[in-house]
Amino acid sequence: MMELIEDGYEYLRDKTLDSIAEVGRIAMLVGDTFRKLGRGLRSFGLVVEQMDHIGVQSLMLVFIVSLFTGAVAAVQAGYQFANVVPLKFIGSVILRSVIIELGPVLTALIVGGRVGASIAAELGTMRVTEQIDALDAMAINPVRYLVVPRVVAALVMLPVLTIMANTIAIVGGWIVCLTTLDVSTHTYVTSMKTFFFMKDLWSGLIKAFFFGGIIAWMGCYYGFRTEGGAEGVGIATTRAVVSSCVLVLISDYVLANVLFRFIFNS
């Protein structure tokens, strides 16, 4: 019995220490990225290449997801408004829920799945096939060469993708309004204009910026720490995706508080 308790204690202690160490290592990777930022940006070609991977190649996915997000938002709003709120307000509800929440968060979640997985799998494979060691051996810093371009590209592209997602979602909502809710384009647009606040848009884009960092850093971190062969790459990929999605949602809550209570509270 005592042994069982001791084993349990050791297990918990090791797990706790591991988690603390993990947070520390992630923080060190983030710090390292900033230190290498200047030199990393000089290889601008690598950044552009990653912008294509992370941004341009996610366009179709973001397009489809946001079109339906907007459509669902309209359907749901229509259903919940029924006999309670006049449908002329539907534009503003769709607009604000999309630009504050749905656009940035859903974009981050799907891009996190697509890009986080691909970064972790690529860097993980590079790790297990000694390509990252080879960079070190050639006196090329792997953080500068691999992490900086991915992080910078994600920081830039997530807000860009979010702007696109917002636009498409509003179009999706508009299509539903026209076709099934009997709301005219004029009513839809007027309602959006009346309740549009610039700070809503900004808060969404600031969140998207942070989400971009989370996705790229998680992918790079788990990719770099891959051990073993194909199995290790699989584990790294899963961890990168799961952790970035969870962190996106947690930071969404934190950022919402910070942004609306302290920064945009006027």
């Binding site: 690529e122 590079m126 096939t129 000694e130 390509q131 060691d133 080879a134 070190d136 051996a137 050639m138 006196a139 090329i140 810093n141």
Partner: protein
């Protein structure tokens, strides 16, 4: 000249290197041999600072590299070319981009000059017209040769070979062995070859060092290795499962 003294490293609970002493004289090829798992690759990674020892010293041309900050360590690394076991080519790049990468990163050569150097180094390793190919479409032997071309792109003073003939057919192994020899003669490079392939060891080595249980238990010329009375060395070079070294 590389001087390794009392190098110790523990990985997990295992004392992988337990006081390694080894000299690699300038212009010579030293073969570090030993069974799989005796710490050959760990020793190799310590020399270029991919792993850091718990204690001991590694001097490269009189400069201590253990504990060196990254910036100075990178200056030392630029004097090394490394051929990894799998070639470690970047599969997102073409062969030409792979070989040219250290030149693009560390020199101010124009892209025409880099292309010229890349072609030349690929020719040195017996490859022509492969610049535009992707590593995935190359055979194992070709990948190693491209890896070697990349390792010598910067005219290194030292080349480290990690299991250069592992996984190759006997004919390709001979090609690689001859290349290691010819590079030593052509550019007077100092080489460390980590291997358990005795054919290769005899062929390329000026000196052989045997690593066993984290220590160097034998150093000598290939002839001395052949005629040694040390039962451990004898067993290893004969490739016998009977003797003082117990198969695990």
């Amino acid at each position: 000249m590389i001087k390794i003294r009392d190098l110790k490293i523990k990985l997990g609970k295992k004392q992988v290197l337990d006081g390694v002493d080894l000299d690699i004289p300038t212009g010579k090829t030293v073969v570090v041999m030993g069974r799989s798992g005796t710490g050959k690759s760990v020793l190799f990674k310590n020399i270029i600072g991919l792993m850091h020892p718990d204690s001991g010293s590694i001097e490269v041309d009189g400069q201590e590299v253990v504990g060196l900050p990254e910036k100075q360590l990178n200056e030392v690394r630029k004097r090394f070319g490394v051929l990894f076991q799998s070639g470690a080519l970047f599969d997102s790049m073409t062969v030409g981009e792979n070989v040219g990468l250290p030149l693009r990163e560390h020199t101010k050569l124009s892209s025409a000059e880099i292309a010229k150097r890349v072609t030349e180094r690929l020719e040195w390793v017996g490859l022509q017209g492969v610049e535009a190919m992707k590593p995935a479409s190359l055979s194992g032997g070709m990948r190693k040769r491209v890896g070697l071309a990349r390792a010598i792109a910067m005219d290194p003073a030292y080349i480290l070979y990690d299991e250069p003939t592992t996984g190759l057919d006997p004919i390709m192994s001979d090609v690689i062995n001859r290349l290691i020899r010819s590079l030593q003669q052509r550019i007077g490079v100092t080489s460390i070859v980590v291997t358990h392939d005795m054919n290769s060891a005899y062929h390329v080595g000026d000196e052989l060092a045997m690593l066993h249980e984290g220590r160097v238990v034998f150093t000598g010329t290939p002839d001395e290795a052949r005629s040694t009375s040390d039962p451990m060395v004898h067993q290893f070079i004969e490739g016998s499962s009977e003797g003082p070294i117990k198969p695990l």
